[in-house]
Symmetry: D2
Subunit: 377 residues, 4 copies
């Protein structure tokens, strides 16, 4: 029997992009073995998925409660150690809580919950249970994002003075103008998706990225959201002004109606000594801008990168890695934490990041509702 971590998966069946992403990523570093789960609300579909993806069928359960009961009945060396939660947003809280309370390690998709209150309750549970809890802000696993963090923390760009993060997609454009398509889109249904679409789904990535790369905390925000139609309940575009301190400011721009954009997530951080820029669609380049110097483009796998970045690169320079590798790095970090091997806390986002994310989403909605005023985080 291998000493891989036994992983269960909740959700993420057949057509789910997030299912593929997690399954492949968990396998990349040979640290996990998917042993079962609940992939679909219908057991037959779950079993079919297991067969297609080479997951043994014995531990495919009909629902979460059965899974918990079944696994708790197994000897320690056999039972699932970690569970990955990929269900629709509104189920994250109740499912994650049960798992945490039953001492499973949890890898949960974002947003953590649908309300900040739930997130606080969950965080309290995690603290009590002392398990490892990761929230998969996927993009922080990219080697050049990690490098950005390392460079900023060691002072390469000096004191941060300006932050600008963009996350532009266009996928809601062909939907929002078509009432039929709109009605069928779960992301635009607050019952399933939570109170926010654009900010909840992608604005929260932008926010997390800023705090991840700079280690700074946003203190206040002022938000202006766009719903595009009076009968649409969910934001599809939003700009958020950020204040870190009196003279350190920033802006997050997120949109799902930026027609034709795919996943155009860009980060620009300017300090007193230099600036750094990174783009998700070309993730293997990190741009260093310095007054009066040639532009420098850093790439993964070079000895000039820091340890955190290098540990997230599997191949030598010139062999482009992508989003599976980024998520794979997060899984790798979680495995180290579960195995109590030494690791850098920056290797994966935790429930704290999830909690702060929920707070950010609620405060953005509040600022917008009150007429675009400053709200403290």
């Amino acid at each position: 029997m291998s000493n891989n971590i036994k992983l269960g998966i909740i959700g993420g069946g057949k057509d789910s992009l997030i299912g593929i992403l997690h399954r492949v990523a968990s396998g990349m570093h040979s640290k996990y073995e998917v042993v079962g789960g609940v992939f679909n609300t219908e057991i037959q579909k779950s079993l079919q998925y297991a067969e297609e993806t080479g997951i043994p069928s014995e531990r495919v359960y009909k629902d979460l409660d059965s899974l918990i009961a079944g696994e708790l009945s197994l000897p320690d060396e056999e039972k699932m150690q970690a569970i990955c939660v990929l269900t629709p947003n509104y189920l994250h809280f109740s499912m994650a809580k049960k798992l945490v309370d039953n001492k499973f390690h949890v890898i949960c998709e974002k947003p953590l919950t649908t309300t900040y209150e739930e997130a606080q309750i969950l965080e309290e549970s995690v603290r009590r249970s002392r398990i490892v809890f990761a929230v998969t802000y996927t993009y922080t696993g990219y080697p050049m994002v990690r490098q950005m963090r390392e460079m900023i923390l060691r002072g390469d760009i000096g004191k941060v003075q300006k932050v600008d993060v963009q996350y532009y997609q266009g996928w809601i454009n062909p939907i929002i103008h078509d009432p039929e398509k709109r009605a069928k889109t779960w992301r635009l249904d607050p019952e399933i998706s939570g109170k926010s679409c654009c900010i909840g789904d992608i604005g929260s990535h932008a926010y997390n990225m800023i705090e991840y790369t700079t280690n700074l905390e946003v203190k206040e925000i002022l938000a202006d959201l766009n719903y595009l139609y009076g009968d649409n309940e969910m934001d599809v575009d939003g700009t958020v002004l950020l204040r870190f301190s009196e003279y350190v400011k920033g802006v997050i721009r997120s949109s799902q109606i930026a027609t034709g954009e795919e996943n155009n997530f860009r980060v620009s951080i300017y300090g007193e000594k230099a600036g750094l820029k990174w783009e998700q669609e070309n993730p293997n380049y990190l741009y260093l801008l310095q007054d009066g110097e040639p532009l420098k483009t850093l790439k993964p796998g070079h000895a000039y990168n820091g340890e955190l970045s290098l540990s997230g690169t599997k191949l030598p320079p010139g062999h482009p890695e992508g989003i599976f590798d980024s998520m794979g790095n997060i899984y790798h970090g979680v495995a180290k934490a579960i195995n109590k091997e030494g690791y850098d806390p920056a290797e994966f986002p935790t429930i704290k990041d999830g909690l702060r994310g929920m707070n950010f989403i609620e405060k953005v909605l509040e600022s917008n509702k009150q007429g675009n005023v400053w709200v403290k985080l």
Copy 2:
């Protein structure tokens, strides 16, 4: 004697980049002949500049009043028809006004004046004098900016739903943190430069570009400026939320402390059918983004471009033109207006653009001062 337009220049002597830009640009289409001017406050330096740049010395004057008197005394076919005003901002108003009142055509650098009130008075004079008055928002002369306008106006991207314009520079970074350098920088001195640095100098370009390319009017703004130090009177960074109508929004981001940036001016306009993007530092590419279609990159000089764009391209595709060519196109348009040849009003920005720009600057300052609130334009 050639039938070129006789051009005089006020300001723009020796070390002035703006002087070089206007002088070269005015010569590119063989429509103007620089016949004299006042290049410097010291006549000796003006004469030396004239010698170095091949401008005849006979009509180099000691100051504006002498120039006006001297030129008015000449026969019509000899006297300067148009005067280009390149002096520091605070002199624009008084000089332009005298010239307008004496029936010279005027090509004035932006910002038009230092206050909106002055701009209104000047506009009134221009209306009375019926001369041609151009304000040199340089970037609207680029062929691919013109193409952007043509495509939007003919409906290629559908109804505009989101506008995002960035103008990031880093040149103030090495100055603002150094009190000595800061004290010597005229852009940071409100006496010379007007009330605003970043918004006045570059934010106003962003605003003009939006109205130029979309033909839409911004109705309300909410601004957040950054002065970086308590003892600095001039904004060096600012984000401005824009509202065109209830569901059409946008954002302008401008900064002069985006360390390491050169002249990173980018325009993104997203409509219901497509998006368009353009960047000043690579001005010969226009990106067309459509849901589910390959990204299209349009370039100057191709038959697929509109008439306004093509008229601003001198060479076949693959021969990169630059900023002199953009300004040259503006001069070309002004020449057509002076010569009463048919022209597209989009060939050069007028006093209306200058006036709206001054209004924008003042309203941005007002919004910021009042605590980042919405202000109607």
Copy 3:
């Protein structure tokens, strides 16, 4: 027991980039399970590698003969079905031949052998054994390379008239000028690496890519190699003129002394109707050039791509996949072949590609040796 293909690995232990690439790639589509192998010439190191990578230790063998004996003694449903050969080049032939003769499916790194003669013998064995034999020209698995092939085959660019492929690396530069480093580099040792370094290692990729994307056969070549030093036996740079027919020509340029280049592999194919360009370091863009049309950039995952391309993309547009995904697609194709599921022969390179590659390498060396003359392939 899962119905995954049982995979064994020969070579590719600890420090081997190629080992990581194959192991991760084989796992990406949940079609294989690594059950054992010979990772190192020392069994202890093999066992340690197995432990670190979660491979069961029971079927870690001391050498290839033991592996073959051991596996053949197992019941059919348990024994290894496919073996992946990642040993140094000079061992490929003898090992692959034994495996083939014992009816294992083989996935072999390139170059297939060290001589064309060996390659012919091996091909004969494969034909007799009727097993699946793949040669891992990694780059043909990229979705946009597959798309290139599909577009060319269906006539999108018309008759091909010009082919230009570059493969530039710089990694030998810091080695070749340093006799000590040079002596320690196995790629520069003909005993281990075969007769050619640059052409064998990367020029052969370029050649394979041309035949893959165009479906054309190179008829004649003229080569000019550079050894840089008189006492260096292995080519480190070479240009090869190609002739497909009297009026269809091309060129391959390959170098390992293109200082500072990483893995700059670029393909340009020009036809009578359009041109196509692709770059390995930014593999998710395919450029379509047409006379008088905007440049079009195609990206993976869009419905406008062909079936072969789409089947190689796991996530929606905007989620960059990389080299593991390319190799993963090749493994996926091989699995379909082993499982006798329908597949497109373009899903993986076979022994035919390996054989042609060896012929190309030998003919390039011959042309160069004879003074840069035309040699028929």
Copy 4:
């Protein structure tokens, strides 16, 4: 009267791109004044052109002989000092020779002549006459090309070991396959254009660029040209292997049937210490590649550039200059030579460059005709 150099122009009338390029470029540094010329074989068209471009009509001549006679009859301070020759290639020699023999300075388009023999005769005349003779290889005036030269000459990349230059256009593609269009294209008519189309027109730029940037001399070449049709007399595509010395090699690739390409001229020079790359379509970037270092992108106008580069930049960083500015820099250099001001010989290409270019063209044709063999230059 200004002290500008009085310039005459032969050829380049109305529809000529080269006419626009020279006229605008000559005016950019305020060093020349176009005083007349022969723009067309019909005097009426010449006069009309003069009127449209603001050139005085008095010195518009009906042909070259009249021009020479007319100008020689004028007092020294009035007569044309320099003449720009923009006529079809086959006229360059006879016209330039007359001008040289009459002691006019000459600025001649490339190719210098139609045969090497003519070029030698002309060079002899130039030597006797001691006038300034420039051959306008336009691209060597770009600031980042000059920077490339400065860096290579001062040893920044170490000993050059590999040169690769590409010049790809697609404009002949829609012509060559259409017999009617082909018959009307003067570039494909050897009577007008000389013996070579692709090599003569653009391959010669590539060759000149290599010798300009590296200061190395190509010693031997082996060429493979493509005529695409048996009844086409002019090469439209060609690859040329280069040998500088036994172990320093290179390749020029030029094509006019690279469908969809515009003016894709790229230079890559690799040395023992670093590599440099530049692309004409994005001329304001110079890439410095060093083993194990971040990629560096140099841009014009920065203090890190050398004197030759900086003298060719008129505006601060971030203000893109283009091809007019490159040609303008060449005119500027010629003006310095005419005015006997200190100048760097690298500021403009001379008759030596033109002569070497003609030799290159003839040797390429010879190598190709003899079956792609090595020919000494």
